[in-house]
């Protein structure tokens, strides 16, 4: 009987990758909810020292902290998802050229993005579905080039039951050969060289459950 991870568990597995002092960029959507998971942990374990990390937001903030209170929310203090945030001690603000330079220059340890497809060469598609509404790539194409560790978090299956981990992306790419780790509700995978190395599977998940051609899979867990 398999028990896929829920969203909080998927995000917790990503948080577990973080080392104290690391820098992290959180993509719009599911990745940004890492803020809320960290907030929640802090409320549940108020005596525990918070994880000492620096969260970057590509609109020009380093040191994003949890959500503000209704009183402290500021129109000029937002993340790249345009949501109100707060900052931690040691935060800094800067312009967009420096912000993306920080990313492109390899200074960010982890970049967490949502995904539509990741292929066995580590290419990512997450910004457009032909024929559907166009939203624009925003910073996604930049974020995948430069961070030391690019992590994609997404549900394992499309609504029609296909795995989003593919031999080759079918949707237009966001970036080529750029993804280091994929976290889905079914497990944690490392793409590259035409294979997905399996780092961990959710409880009870078997290879057959993944709906990925078996020759693309390498067990390492």
């Amino acid at each position: 009987m398999m028990t896929p991870w829920n969203k909080e568990e998927m995000l917790s597995h990503i948080i577990d990758m973080f080392h104290p002092g690391c820098s992290v960029n959180l993509g719009i959507g599911l990745p940004t909810a890492i803020l809320d998971v960290l907030d929640q942990r802090q409320r549940l374990l108020p005596d525990e020292e918070p994880l000492d990390i620096f969260i970057q937001s590509e609109n020009g903030v380093l040191g994003v902290a949890g959500r503000p209170t209704p009183d402290t929310a500021s129109a000029t203090l937002i993340n790249a998802g345009k949501e109100t945030i707060s900052i931690r001690a040691g935060a800094s603000f800067f312009d967009s050229a420096l912000s993306f330079g920080m990313i492109r220059g390899g200074h960010i340890d982890f970049c967490i993005l949502g995904g539509m497809e990741v292929d066995a060469d580590g290419s990512l598609a997450n910004w457009i579905v032909p024929g559907q509404k166009i939203t624009g790539m925003g910073g996604a194409m930049d974020l995948v080039h430069g961070a030391r560790h690019v992590v994609v978090v997404m549900t394992h299956f499309t609504k029609s039951g296909d795995a989003k981990l593919k031999a080759r992306c079918t949707l237009p790419l966001t970036g080529m050969h750029c993804v280091h780790t994929v976290v889905t509700d079914m497990g944690i995978f490392v793409p590259g060289d035409g294979r997905f190395r399996i780092k961990q599977l959710a409880p009870g998940v078997t290879l057959a459950d993944l709906n990925i051609p078996i020759d693309l899979l390498v067990r390492e867990d």
């Binding site: 000029t76 345009k82 312009d95």
Partner: protein, 241 residues
């Protein structure tokens, strides 16, 4: 020996948005600072929305959001072409794209920032890994460095409208929190930069080390009014994912 008569520089200070924008014409390339609704030049946009000019090429990260900001110019059909990074959450823009009333050129945000900086600072082209293997690289030169990179060109404008918390009479500017974003870069990249500030302060009131945008990049400045500073998405403590 002749001496020039020492004189004071012509003032950069304008009395209002209307005065500062009076000579803008149809068809110009217009940059507008801000990320979403954060740090947008509210007064200049409002003034533009009352002026009989159209056919604008707008360069801005978003072209307004949810009917606000630059969406006011969309609603009045003043924009013909937009260069931006993100068009989501903007029903006015979506509709005009579908109806062929506006053309949109999407640029990755880091490349967008760097192209604007390049225009402002005289870099004629640069190579970046962003966009290789994607639609962004189509028709562009790709060259191999440590990884394949695309050649990108500067992005300049005739006029930039930007907003800041504080500015002095020479145009030295200080931005609050994350409201800086593209604004200083756009000020560098436009031939005429019009800054609106919440507080117009005396020359030199901003400490020289902490000027975020030196006044040399600013041609006009005015103190705006009635700032709404709208919060686009309010998220507060205690909401779990």
């Amino acid at each position: 020996m002749q001496h020039a008569t020492p004189r004071r520089a012509p003032s950069k200070v304008y009395s209002s948005a209307t005065a500062a924008l009076a000579d803008l014409t149809s068809g110009i390339r217009l940059m507008s600072g801000g990320f979403g609704l954060c740090g947008i030049p509210e007064n200049s946009i409002d003034a533009l929305a009352t002026m009989p000019i159209d056919n604008l090429t707008v360069i801005s990260n978003n072209v307004g959001n949810s009917g606000r900001g630059l969406a006011k110019l969309l609603q009045r059909r003043q924009i013909r072409h937009a260069i931006c990074t993100y068009v989501g959450g903007n029903p006015d823009l979506e509709q005009q794209i579908l109806q062929g009333e506006i053309t949109v050129e999407l640029v990755p945000q880091g490349t967008f920032s760097e192209r604007i900086r390049a225009a402002g600072l005289g870099i004629r082209a640069f190579y970046t890994p962003t966009g290789v293997g994607t639609v962004v690289a189509e028709g562009k030169e790709v060259r191999m460095f440590d990884k394949p990179c695309v050649l990108e060109l500067p992005l300049e404008a005739d006029v930039a409208i930007i907003k800041a918390q504080r500015g002095d009479t020479y145009g030295n500017v200080w931005f609050q929190e994350a409201a800086r974003n593209f604004s200083p870069l756009m000020a560098m990249a436009a031939r005429t930069t019009i800054v609106e500030v919440e507080e117009l302060v005396p020359l030199g009131a901003i400490p020289a080390e902490d000027v975020h945008l030196p006044g040399i990049f600013v041609q006009r400045i005015y103190q705006g009014s009635h700032y709404r500073n709208e919060i686009e998405i309010l998220k507060v403590q205690g909401i779990t994912p």
